[in-house]
């Protein structure tokens, strides 16, 4: 297979009945997280019930898109050919400010290689990739301001 002619698309989010709201929300520029009406706890990834209390009274709720960098790594290896031109790129675990222990995984954008550190304040941005929109995160303050 010649790499110059082969076209491999990036893996797309294959939404399920539980998660469709998340990707639909991203298309509208909203970060929606499953929220329990009974116990008021958020949960991610979404599922059929609230994992905190077992209630089925769950609904998507828009969150602020603010959070902190829980951890990250910088991917150098091309695990998938569609990311050949992306390396190196950050994969980050983001703790949303709405709830301790509520995490999302996304790419960290607009952050210099030596600027990422645990605890960095982040905000969501929405990135169009082909037919999809992915919630992503970037430093909440312009980088000069947060640099150590």
């Amino acid at each position: 297979m010649s790499e110059s002619t082969a076209y491999v698309s990036r893996p797309r989010p294959l939404a399920t009945v539980y998660s469709r709201f998340f990707w639909d929300g991203a298309r509208r520029g909203e970060l929606l997280i499953q929220h329990c009406t009974a116990c008021s706890r958020f949960a991610h990834p979404p599922g059929p019930i609230c994992p905190s209390c077992g209630s089925q009274e769950i609904a998507p709720v828009a969150v602020s898109g603010r959070g902190t960098l829980h951890s990250f790594c910088l991917i150098h290896h091309v695990f998938h050919p569609a990311f050949k031109d992306q390396v190196p790129y950050f994969v980050a675990r983001v703790e949303l400010q709405e709830q301790k222990g509520l995490f999302l995984v996304a790419n960290l954008r607009n952050c210099p290689r030596d600027g990422a550190r645990v605890g960095l304040p982040l905000r969501v941005l929405f990135e169009t990739v082909g037919e999809d929109v992915l919630p992503q995160f970037e430093p909440a303050l312009s980088f000069e301001t947060v640099a150590p």
Partner: protein, 388 residues
């Protein structure tokens, strides 16, 4: 007391296939080579096996019914195909132990066959996405971001450990160097060349801070053990190796979104192991600690209580603690970092070699008690075995 409720259980036989890089025998052949040699090693015949358990990932190991038919074993009293979740090969061994201990069967075979060298199925990263209830991973929320299965999650754990607990880059390097020192003494190992710290530090980043030489060595191969009662094992030819205790844990059951991110089930697994054990840390003569990544070894050592959290680097003492001749030899086969990623059972098989006293050039003098662990995060298990 012993942590195996019910009948006392022994590891009666161990067997390996060849361990291959660049050659791709069918998984069926690898499995037959390992299982038949384990049964023969125990001094038993396939007709005496009445339980079979295997762990697989995406169909790499042949299923138990194929092994039963091909070995010519008659009716099985207990069996199980474990996959996806589970503490790699040790999951199959623990099912075999509990089946024998409970009286469900008398002689149980456990195996793990893996095809991971390039040219086989490549890596876990190439496996198709599973539905949300069908996998430990959440590919829908990871793959679109270029985060493929285990390695990025290890990179994130290692980064957080470095920022929160400190330590040095070399702490991880001592694990990589140790693996090669032991592998140099193991003819089966695929990576037997000694490494320098400069070579370790100079190896390319995969998911920074994870370097290439932090990762284990993908191979094609199979490893198997035969479990039976201590009473039955006493009538066989090999030295008696007793299962003192074992434990399994899942923590929060999640590889990447959970709030027990750093260690998953390690602490619970260690607590269970020590509460089940008839032996204490000071009794342990050698360790077989799962080393899919160097990071995992440091975390296991701390979770098992051999030192405090964040102090594994100091405990290693430049590798002297765990190297050949050290006070607590670790991964004496070279582990997955150097013997090859046989994915679990090989740690137990190596412990049995050592406790029998037939580990050749790498024999740990007077080894009586070994502690082995498998896997990481939400799918962990540990076991203590001792020479009777």
């Amino acid at each position: 007391m012993s942590g195996t409720a019910g009948r006392q259980v022994a590891v009666a036989g161990i067997g390996y296939s060849g361990v291959y890089r660049g050659a791709h025998p069918p998984s069926e052949q690898l499995t037959l080579d390992a299982t038949r040699s384990a049964i023969a090693d125990a001094g038993l015949t396939p007709a005496e096996v009445d339980g079979i358990f295997e762990y697989q990932y995406a169909g790499d190991s042949p299923v138990t019914s194929w092994v039963q038919r091909t070995l010519g074993t008659s009716d099985l009293a207990a069996y199980g195909d474990i996959g996806g979740t589970g503490a790699s090969g040790m999951a199959a061994v623990i099912y075999a132990i509990t089946a024998v201990a409970s009286g469900a069967c008398e002689v149980a075979l456990a195996y793990r066959t893996i095809l991971q060298d390039a040219g086989s199925n490549g890596s876990f990263g190439t496996i198709e996405s599973a539905p949300p209830g069908g996998s430990m991973f959440h590919d829908e929320f990871l793959a679109p971001y270029g985060s493929f299965n285990i390695i990025p999650t290890i990179g994130m754990r290692m980064q957080r450990r470095k920022e929160q607990l400190g330590g040095h880059e070399e702490d991880y390097g001592y694990i990589a160097l140790n693996a090669r020192k032991w592998a140099a003494l193991n003819p089966r190992a695929v990576a037997r060349k000694l490494l320098s710290m400069d070579e370790y530090l100079g190896s390319r980043f995969i998911a920074e801070p994870v370097r290439l030489l932090d990762c284990d060595y993908p191979v094609n191969g199979s490893c198997a053990v035969v479990i039976t009662t201590a009473a039955r094992a006493r009538t066989l030819t090999q030295p008696l190796i007793i299962v003192d205790s074992h434990a399994t844990a899942t923590g929060d059951g999640d590889w990447i979104f959970g709030d027990r991110f750093m260690n998953g089930g390690l602490e619970r697994c260690a607590e269970r192991l020590w509460s089940n054990a008839g032996l204490a840390r000071d009794d342990v003569d050698l360790l077989g600690i799962y080393d899919g990544f160097t990071y995992q070894v440091l975390s296991w050592i701390e979770a098992l209580g051999f030192c405090k959290e964040g102090e594994a680097g100091d405990w290693l003492d430049g590798g002297r603690t765990i190297n050949p001749g050290g006070s607590l030899p670790l991964n004496t086969s070279g582990g997955q970092l150097a013997e090859g990623r046989l994915h679990g059972i090989s740690f137990l098989a190596e412990a049995v070699h050592q406790l029998r006293g037939n580990a050749g050039d790498r024999q740990v003098p007077d080894a009586r008690v070994a502690l082995v662990t498998n896997s990481f995060g939400p799918a962990v298990a540990a076991m203590i075995v001792r020479r009777d």
